[in-house]
Structure formats: C-alpha cells, structure tokens
C-alpha cells in the first residue's frame, strides 16, 4: 500500500506544473477514472436522505458480514481475471461443496439425516474435503484452459453444468429426494456463525469475518510475495513474454484455477453454515457478483493488472450498493437493471483507463 498522504502530495505537486489546458484534462481524467467512487458517495448520501437506517450500526455490520462472505470467492476469481480469463463454475461449485459440508456435519439427532449412522466428524476434516472438491473442479478447469489454450469462458461453462448435475444427483442420493439439507450440528454452526468477538466485546461480528480476514492475508501473501503470484501477473499481461522469460505458463494457469477452486470450496463450507438450510440452488449466480466486484475493484479484463486491495474494495462497494438498493426499496426487477449498469460502468472505466494509458 502506498502512503495516501504522500501520493496526494505528489499529485498536487504534479498538478502545479501543468498549464491550464492540461489541468482541465487532468481534472476530467481524475473524475472519470473515479466515477464509480463518486457516484457511490452520491448514492449513499441520497440513500441516507431517503432512509437514515443505512448508517446504523446493524446495517454497517450487515454490510461487513456480507462482504466477508463473498470476499474469498472474489479473490479466487480475481486470479482468473488477471489471466484475462473468468470462471463461471464458481457458484455451482460453492453449491456442491456447501452440500457436502452440510451433509457431513449434520447434527446426530437430526431426523432425515443424509448419512445415517455417520458419527460426528471433526470440522477441519470436512473443511479439507470441501477445499479438495473445490480444488479438483478448479484443477479440471485449469487443465483444459492451460493444456488446450481454450477460453476459460467455455471450459468453465462446461464444468458449471457438470458440477450442477453432480450437485443435483447428490441431493437426490440416499433417499433425500432433493429436499433441503438442514439440522447442522451445533459445533459447526457456532464455529462459523458464532461470535467470539461478540462474547469478548459485545459487537456481534460472526467468526467467518475473522476467517475471511485470514484468507485475505493468505491471498495477499500469495499474490504479492510469492514467485507464483508474480508469475501470475506476468502470464496475465503477456503469456508469450512470460514463457520466454522462463515462466511455466501451463503450471501457473493451472494453479491459478486450482487456487480459485479452493476458494470456492472454502466459500461453500462457510455458506452451508451461514445459510443453514441448503438446496441445490445454494451458490446460484455467486460468480456474477464476484466477477462484477473484481471489475469494480480494478482487476482488468485486459489482463495482468489488479490488486488484492482493489478486490476487497470492489466487493465492499458492490455490497454497499446492493444493501442500499434494499434500503431504497427499489423493486427487484429494477435492481437487476441497476446492477447491470454498474458492471457496464466499471468496464467502461477499465477500458478508458487502458485506452488512454500513455
């Protein structure tokens, strides 16, 4: 992270050296490049005038919780977007891993238990299982993308369908007949949605927010401090140049997708407990929000650019807008249109930045 005060000083010093025409262009550029933040501020102020509840502690905690729930997945997809790709299988993978986590961690006394006679499994073991299943889906994605240089759009579209099919069959298995899976064990629920911070300080922030911060730190480390992370950006900006400089493009592409798959597995594990009652529709369209959040956060589809901080900001901003739309009681149909417009806006800003780069 750059020192914001210092960079502001540098910007103002640069601004003083410009002549009148360049100053005009500089102001216009700054306004356009930050258009999304500007309209967000206008949006929040407008929402506040309509419904003061948006700036209440419960609403802010709610936004933080929702951000934490969707952040790990956005970080995973962010890696795919850095490689100029995308991942459409994310939401369904979350659905499948959520189903696996939920069925393995049902309480012993639940009627209609999915695995009858299954004892109480250790929670970390189920977490590992969810991560492994997610990782395998990611590995398959990564293999086809890297080996045959297929566009991830089509590969992940195929895996999305396959995973959804598997997920539906899983819900039909063991005489469950597609019913929702609930009755999770108390240990599991308190591990995810319980609040250690709440018992210590009285501010009820669920545990999965803490876990999301841990995932965030791990992903930050991977992106910024490892060779793999640096290779990812090299491959994203120019795979041929990366190949010539000795980067294993095949391995890097595959690992980025696998890592993304692991984050979906993690999200599924969390979502199962967060939602409590899971159906085959758990995770539906999660990838859309995650991709939108990445684009808003400046992870460019042109490839090779993006920061962890940007993704966090993107997820956070998108959540504020979604929650704000509810506070404005805008009709659900209109909400879809507005979400679409935000994504187009983010893409336009991204393209404009790229095209006007000197």
């Amino acid at each position: 992270m750059k020192n914001p005060i210092k960079s502001l000083q540098q910007t103002s010093a640069r601004y003083k050296t410009l002549d009148a025409k360049d100053r005009h262009a500089f102001v216009a550029d700054t306004l356009l490049n930050n258009a999304i933040y500007i309209i967000l501020i206008v949006f929040i102020i407008f929402t506040y005038t309509q419904n003061h509840n948006i700036i209440s502690s419960s609403s802010i905690i709610n936004i933080i919780n929702l951000t934490a729930a969707s952040l790990p997945m956005a970080l995973g997809i962010g890696g795919c977007i850095v490689l100029t790709g995308t991942d459409l299988s994310a939401g369904r993978t979350v659905g499948l891993t959520a189903a696996i986590s939920a069925t393995l961690l049902q309480s012993l006394t639940t009627t209609n238990k999915f695995f009858e006679g299954l004892g109480e499994l250790p929670i970390p073991l189920v977490l590992l299982a969810a991560l492994a299943v997610g990782g395998i889906v990611g590995l398959v994605n990564g293999f086809f993308v890297a080996k045959f240089q297929l566009h991830p759009f089509i590969v992940t579209l195929a895996t999305q369908l396959i995973v959804y099919g598997v997920c539906l069959m899983y819900y039909m298995a063991n005489g469950n007949n597609g019913q929702s899976i609930s009755g999770l064990s108390d240990a599991y629920k308190s591990c995810i949605t319980g609040s250690i911070i709440g018992t210590l300080t009285g501010i009820v922030i669920p545990n999965y927010v803490i876990y999301a911060v841990i995932v965030l730190i791990i992903m930050w480390f991977i992106w910024n401090k490892t060779t793999f992370g640096k290779n990812m950006f090299a491959v994203g900006s120019n795979p041929e140049a990366a190949n010539v400089s000795g980067v294993n493009v095949f391995f890097t592409t595959m690992m980025v997708h696998t890592l993304a798959g692991v984050t979906y597995g993690y999200t599924g594990f969390i979502e199962a407990a967060r939602i409590g009652s899971n159906t085959a529709n758990t995770g539906l369209n999660y990838e859309c929000d995650a991709i939108a959040a990445c684009v808003i956060g400046g992870v460019s589809f042109v490839g090779g650019t993006g920061t962890i901080g940007g993704v966090v900001l993107g997820v956070f901003l998108l959540r504020i807008i979604f929650v704000g739309l509810n506070f404005l009681s805008i009709s659900g149909n209109m909400q879809y249109i507005i979400k679409g417009i935000i994504i187009l806006l983010a893409c336009s800003i991204d393209m404009r930045k790229y095209l006007t780069r000197k």
Partner: protein, 138 residues
C-alpha cells in the same frame, strides 16, 4: 526500393505501438492505430458518463425508500388494525386495542397458523409484510 525494404511487413510490430497479447490470443485492442484508439477512448468516456448518469437516474426515480414498506395486519376475527408504513430496517409498532370477544391476544405472527411470532421490539421490516393475530381462547 530502399524505402520498401524499410517498411515493416504486416506481422511486424511498430516500436511505438506495442502489441498486447492476452493469454487467449491478441486482445481486441492489440495493434490498434492511434486514431482508432483515440476514437474508442472517446466512446469509452461517453459511456462512463452515460452509465453513471443512468445509474443515478434509475436509483432516484426507482427509489420508494422514503415511502417505506407496508405492514398490514390481519386480525383474524378481531377488531381491525390500521396498516403501517415503515422504512426498510425499522421496526413496526404493535397495533393497540385489537380485541376479540372471548379471546386474548397472544401476539402477531408471520403465518396465519401462528408459528413464527413477530418481535416488535427487535425484528426489522425488510419487505412488505402481513402479520396475523394469534388468539388464545379465554
């Protein structure tokens, strides 16, 4: 002849316009001419402004936030209770003086069968609701 030799062949890159490669072939903006790039940048600028304006217009016109959500009360045989207009995230107020001969009011529920009781002091209204009176025979 010497001029022709200097001219770069079709596939060759000009040094001042670096071609950009995406992982999956040349990206759409790769190898673009300067004037094309400028024209596209102008389009992008227009689009940024248009989308930002569209967002704000839709939010402002679509907002019914100040009007609030409606909580209606079905007294299920008791005396009528007026519906309330509540801001999203606020709590509703428990209607007063709802009576039914021969019954006492147990509370208000989200479902007619009285399964999910509504807590007026704590439950925030997040959609249009109908609450049903739950009666206990005296």
């Amino acid at each position: 002849m010497s001029d022709e030799r200097k001219r770069p062949s079709a596939g060759e890159e000009k040094p001042d316009q670096p071609r950009r490669y995406g992982l999956f072939g040349v990206s759409s903006t790769g190898g673009m001419q300067e004037n094309q790039r400028k024209s596209m940048a102008r389009w992008a600028t227009a689009f940024v402004v248009a989308m930002a304006a569209a967002f704000l217009v839709l939010v402002v016109t679509g907002s019914t936030g100040a009007a609030g959500l409606t909580v209606t009360f079905d007294s299920q045989g008791g005396s009528e209770a007026a519906s309330q207009s509540v801001l999203y995230g606020d709590t509703a107020e428990e209607p007063e003086d709802v009576v039914r001969v021969g019954y006492t009011l147990e509370g208000w529920s989200l479902t007619p069968d009285g399964e999910q009781l509504w807590d007026f002091s704590d439950d925030a209204v997040e959609e249009n609701l109908t609450l049903y009176a739950v009666w206990e025979a005296q």
